[in-house]
């Protein structure tokens, strides 16, 4: 099924050929689902569609999808001694198939996360419209609202915030920043990306089987009572978690073994540090939440009573969920902090302040994040837990503060080049600060008894996640835009949109603190009349927030199509990704870089950090890569330098690789 795209027939034929693997994946996925579900139903002797059939069908369907997209040729067939020949595609079609280039995978993640973000954001707009009035008027039932709200939260947390930066920038930039030519396990990498679309689809498709009403936390035993859509929540989250886990293995192995010569741990770029520690958290806690999801499935299809009121422990679910759930919030935020510091040093042309302190802070956060989970259960849990978990939670503010120590130390007396990414980082610092501070209010148990499960919490986590992580993601999208597209974006447009975003965001979410204190609990479609005025205001302002995001999207897309060439290093950055062409060639660097100093030193005495050729190995190229042609520039086919080898074929020698 290797498609030959070297000839150039009519566009439609080319499109069909380019989309071949994707179509095949969809077909095999559906077939897998049908076969799995049917066989199960028959074995069970049931005439109707059972929940077990849904689960088995999903699993076989997922297998079919993975094989169809290219897993058959790249993993399974070579494992059994067959050929490992696989066409990785060229141009834009590379993005629609199993491709092992970490840069392709990075962009696949970024675009997928962006689309999912848009979708979940639109759901939020529907929710806000419903919430504008006290009664139920837009949606037919409270159940519909609960379903929307649950899908919004689940997608945002499991498919956007832990995927956008970690999967997108992590894949694209970790190898570049450490001077490697790819990730350690490229096929594993492609496999993990292709788990994302089915995971997202499962969650989106849940309303087809009744949806799930429990929110993104899906507390038990409600989860066992819900419609069958609950199963798709478990399966979807499991699938997305699996993708994170495989990525984590890859990132850690890459960082440990693939660093360029001279790139000691003390010189490791801050963003890579945060990726590494995020991956450690993923590695340890994702399997644990996977167990919880499997238990949730068994509760429905195998008749177990883990979480039932009689015979089980309803609160066990909450412990299992938050043991992962809290580390997850730092999985979301660590890399965002990494981005802040990268951008602050480059845009301020000032030495990064307190590198060791902040890395130590990240380490402390990583360790401590595993011992605070019960602060989500203050109103539930036994008294004996309150003081210990309150204490650890308040103490985690100290290492978090070290991020600000470094950020402010770098910013102060620097030369602030107020570009769009810099502006977004500064905004992110301010909004995350407010969210962090409201976290301190929540961590205080007496105050939390009041605030928990109200809009105060909703305000808190939108401040930290949207204000912290989404802003930083946008900053990264701009900061690295020249690198991954080879183009420059429109600065003026970007800055206006950034201001609009900042204002719209605060206007939307700040009042929610007071709504919460005034007695508005979360996860409701209807409320008492006295809360209506504030809610109307929030709903209207939320539209501005949405508009601001759409403006950013327009800026990015339009600049990608028409922006002027950016050159390899428009910001004067010192990390290695700026030492190669924009976008980088398939193998990233012409020569293996040699690192001579750290990347964050500025000033007259600062040594040049990178890219000195290893003596006697290969000469350093004098010319930058040729610019992309306009035709490629117009599409998403960034990175396909004219001189690059076309379809990358796996050599039969390196078969049956990185999977177990």
């Amino acid at each position: 099924m290797a498609v030959d795209t070297s000839t150039t027939p009519k566009r439609s034929v080319e499109a069909l050929a380019g989309l071949g693997p994707l179509l095949r994946a969809a077909l095999w996925g559906l077939a897998g689902f049908a076969v799995g579900a049917l066989v199960t139903a028959v074995l069970q002797g049931e005439r109707q569609f059972t929940e077990l059939a849904l689960v088995v069908g999903y699993v076989t369907g997922l297998a079919g999808w993975q094989l169809g997209i290219g897993g058959w040729e790249t993993v399974v067939r070579p494992l059994y001694g067959g050929s490992s020949e696989w066409d990785e595609g060229t141009g834009r079609w590379r993005y629609f198939r199993f491709n092992t280039d970490h840069k392709v995978i990075g962009l696949q993640y970024l675009v997928t996360a962006g689309v999912t973000f848009g979708l979940a954001g639109l759901l939020a707009m529907v929710m806000r419209t419903e919430l504008a009035t006290a009664e139920l008027d837009l949606l037919p039932t409270a159940e519909a609202y609960n379903n929307l709200m649950s899908i919004h939260g689940t997608l945002m947390l499991f498919a956007v915030s832990v995927v956008a930066i970690v999967g997108g920038f992590g894949n694209y930039f970790v190898p570049l920043m450490i001077g490697a030519e790819d990730m350690a396990f490229p096929r594993l990498n492609a496999t993990s990306y292709w788990l994302i679309p089915p995971g997202v689809l499962a969650i989106i498709a849940s309303p087809l089987v009744g949806g799930f009403q429990g929110g993104w936390t899906s507390y038990q035993p409600l989860g066992a009572d819900n419609a069958a859509g609950q199963l798709l929540f478990y399966l979807g989250v499991y699938t997305l978690g699996l993708a994170s886990l495989l990525t984590a293995i890859n990132v850690i192995a890459t960082t440990v073994f693939m660093r360029a010569p001279g790139l000691t741990w003390g010189r490791l770029p801050i963003f890579v540090w945060t990726m590494l520690l995020t991956s450690v958290l993923n590695l340890v806690w994702v399997p644990e939440i996977g167990v919880a999801m499997v238990m949730g499935i068994m509760e429905r299809v195998a008749g177990t009573t883990f979480f039932a009121a009689d015979g089980g422990l309803p609160l066990l679910w909450q412990d299992l969920f938050w043991m992962f759930g809290h580390p997850e919030v730092y999985i979301i935020m660590l890399t965002a902090w990494g981005l802040w510091l990268e951008i602050l040093a480059v845009m301020g042309r000032k030495t990064l302040f307190g590198y060791r302190w902040v890395v130590g802070g990240f380490l402390a956060i990583t360790l401590m994040s595993s011992i605070v989970w019960a602060h989500h259960m203050f109103a539930t849990s036994a008294d004996a837990r309150l003081i210990p978990f309150m204490s650890t939670t308040e103490l985690i503010s100290i290492p978090t503060g070290l991020v600000y120590l470094s950020a402010i130390g770098t910013l102060w007396l620097s030369r602030v080049r107020l570009t769009t990414p810099m502006l977004l980082v500064l905004f992110s610092m301010l909004t995350f600060l407010l969210g962090g501070v409201s976290g301190v209010f929540l961590a205080d148990a007496p105050a939390d008894f009041y605030e928990t499960d109200t809009y105060f919490v909703v305000a808190h986590f939108h401040y930290v996640i949207v204000g912290g992580m989404i802003f930083a993601w946008l900053a990264g999208l701009y900061y690295w835009f020249p690198k991954y597209t080879g183009k420059m974006f429109n600065e003026a447009f970007g800055k206006v949109a950034a201001w609009l975003l900042f204002i719209g965001f605060n206007a939307t979410f700040f009042p929610m603190h007071f709504l919460g204190l005034d007695g508005m609990n979360r996860r409701i479609a209807t409320y008492l009349d006295y809360m209506e005025p504030v809610n109307i205001a929030i709903s209207i302002l939320a539209a501005f927030l949405g508009l601001a995001l759409i403006l950013h999207l327009i800026n990015l897309v339009y600049s990608w199509a028409t922006g002027p060439p950016a050159g390899p290093n428009p910001w004067g950055g010192k990390t290695l990704e700026w030492e190669t062409s924009s976008p980088p060639p398939r193998e990233n660097f012409e020569i293996e870089p040699l690192v001579l100093a750290d990347f964050y030193s500025y000033g007259d005495a600062a040594p040049e950090p990178g890219m000195v050729p290893i003596p006697g190995v290969r000469p350093r190229p004098l010319e930058p890569e040729p610019q992309r042609t306009s035709l490629e520039a117009a599409g998403i086919g960034a990175g396909s330098a004219p001189g690059n080898p076309g379809p990358q074929r796996h050599h039969p020698d390196d078969e049956a690789g990185d999977h177990t």
């Binding site: 409270a142 159940e143 609960n146 429990g214 929110g215 507390y219 035993p221 409600l222 009572d225 819900n226 009121a309 009689d310 309803p314 609160l315 301020g348 042309r349 000032k350 302040f353 590198y355 109103a379 539930t380 008294d383 003081i387 309150m390 204490s391 103490l395 503010s397 100290i398 120590l405 402010i408 130390g409 910013l411 102060w412 007396l413 620097s414 030369r415 602030v416 080049r417 107020l418 570009t419 500064l426 610092m429 600060l433 407010l434 501070v437 301190v440 209010f441 148990a445 007496p446 105050a447 009041y450 499960d453 007071f514 204190l517 005034d518 609990n521 996860r523 409701i524 000033g603 600062a606």
Partner: protein
Amino acid sequence: MTEQPGRPNARRHLLVAGLSWVVLTVAGVIGVRVWAADSFPFLAAEQGAVADDAILFLFYLVIPVFMFVLVAVVYAMIRFRARPDDLTDSAVQVRTHRGYTMTWLGTTTALAVLVIIHPGVTGLMEIWDARDEPDPLVVEVTAQQWEWSFTYPEQGVENQPELVLPVDQPVRFVITSEDVIHSFWIPAFRLKQDAVPGATTELHITPDRIGDIGTSEMLRVQCAELCGIGHADMAAEVSIVTAAEFDEWVTEVGGGQ
């Protein structure tokens, strides 16, 4: 902004920013006091004051921290601006700074420890003190999808859909659920307690203001844990009445000693 920030100006920058920080902190504290004076929602329980006080105290602690970062960022944004294409390095290059780092660490650690002790542990102690109140009125709260019922075992009053409490009388709520997890919350009392199936939890409250939903919408029972379709509507009426009125109500609904 052509000024080259360098050593000579460093002191002035610190001074101006420091002054702005002081001014903004004072303004913030005053602002919170003004807000708290009349905007804290209707409160009707002794123990609820613990939560309000904690919030107020936390405000005083975090405002200086918040303003510090705010000033640093906004000041840098305005005063240290350089042209985007200007690649000159900053004249000041510091890798670490003992004084600044140690002050930072010391202050944040002190703040975090203080927060644990003061509104934290002390607040919990105060809330737990209510358990030792003598002769509490016992109210059994049962949550089920999607309604509340209240039983007063000592008064022989069973399964009431509304909650009636005598003012200034310590109450011991014994809370459980028939099906999924709910959360027992009277906003005017502040404190929540989850209702967990198969277990009982307790909440000790002394209501200290007479009123009902007509007095303030905060005086209502509201389920605060997502429990399915009817979650939003899972509310019940609350009346806080005088002791005499309470006895009257008890006989009215068929109770008696």
